[in-house]
């Protein structure tokens, strides 16, 4: 186990964004974190990335609380665009290189080239698909142990989604752990080892996806409908 969430809880005022979430992530696995908007996916990822402090409980990376050390090995891609509008693609790379010791400029160049971005493009002029590719390139150019990707496929067309999925797969080193949040299930069906279903701040189910297909002939989408469709009790 590489990452452990122990009863992690985060409240904002009277709203509990993440409510006693306990889970264990194994090295070398790809996890799909699924659930509607507001189910706690982003807040949980921000806690694991060390950007938000839990009110109670906590998250451990290699048995140590999340902090300065874990941030060096956990790469987080947020949903918000986080580049200054004056930046070019080349500036974004330099900015990251200054921030992260594990950032590889060589890998970054290779990734932007394969996704048909050029260094002189300005961040503010990028289409949503190109911005999504830039965010993925700059995140995957880090040589991290855990990648937390918050909605990498949201709001972009099918071809850009395919390209981003392939870029992610091509960047996975052995023993690296990935958590990809989405409300697009089809894209993750084939890519995830396991799914984590979030609802109203709770982790309500987790499941190994090949086992689900083997033993129950069910797709992840089927299970999603069972869980969220009528609030029923899905088995897996």
């Amino acid at each position: 186990m590489v990452l452990e969430s122990r009863e992690a809880t985060k409240t904002y005022g009277r709203k509990t964004a993440v409510d006693h979430v306990s889970l264990e992530l194994e090295a070398g696995f790809v996890y799909a974190m699924l659930g509607p908007n507001g189910s706690g996916k982003t807040t949980w990822m921000k806690m694991a990335a060390g950007l938000v402090k839990p009110n109670s409980g906590g998250i451990l990376y290699q048995n140590q609380p999340i902090g300065i050390e874990s941030k060096k090995e956990i790469a987080y891609m947020s949903t918000e665009p986080y580049f200054y509008s004056w930046m070019t693609v080349a500036d974004v790379g330099k900015y990251y290189e200054d921030f992260f010791d594990d950032f590889s400029m060589e890998k970054y160049h290779q990734l932007i080239t394969s996704m048909e971005l050029t260094e002189d493009m300005r961040a503010k002029k990028l289409s949503s698909g190109m911005m999504a590719k830039l965010k993925i390139a700059v995140t995957m150019a880090r040589k991290a142990k855990i990648y937390l990707l918050d909605e990498p496929l949201n709001g972009i067309d099918l071809l850009a989604r395919d390209e981003i999925m392939r870029t992610i797969l091509a960047s996975i080193e052995p023993d690296v752990t990935m958590v990809i949040s989405s409300h697009l299930i089809d894209e993750l069906e084939r890519v995830a080892d396991a799914v984590l279903f979030m609802k109203e701040g709770h982790l309500i189910r987790q499941c190994m996806v090949e086992e689900l297909r083997i033993s129950q002939h069910k797709s992840v989408a089927d299970l999603y409908r069972e869980i969220y469709g009528h609030g029923g009790e899905a088995v897996c």
Partner: protein
């Protein structure tokens, strides 16, 4: 490749590779892509690809050389046998489907003969 999301991905991928082997697209002794390359090519999970290769090995269709990669068997008799097995599966599925429609085996064969 189109996947059926309710069936195991590793079996569907293994079948796709077997088709490429029996049709000669992947000739005897050919090197298969690395785990990562196959994962990217089919947009599937890398652990699933490892399972695909294990499955193909256990069936004797492929073999792994340490540090070299996974290769298609050089045994052409094995490949012929695989082709017949795959044909057998198609025939059984067909006959089963016809039986469900209420046709006898004889009628099913007549259908086949009349099909252009």
């Amino acid at each position: 490749m189109e996947y059926n999301p309710t069936l195991p991905i590793y079996l569907q991928t293994a079948n796709a590779i077997k088709r490429d082997i029996v049709t000669g697209k992947l000739p005897p002794g050919a090197k298969l892509p690395s785990v990562r390359d196959l994962a990217v090519e089919y947009t599937i999970n890398p652990n699933t690809v490892s399972r695909v290769y294990k499955e193909l090995e256990s069936e004797g269709v492929c073999f792994t050389r340490r540090g070299m990669g996974t290769f298609v068997t050089e045994d052409s008799a094995k490949i012929d046998m695989l082709k017949k097995e795959m044909a057998g599966t198609l025939i059984r599925d067909f006959l089963e489907g016809m039986e469900q429609l209420g046709y006898s085996r004889h009628e099913a064969i007549t259908f086949l003969e009349n099909e252009k």
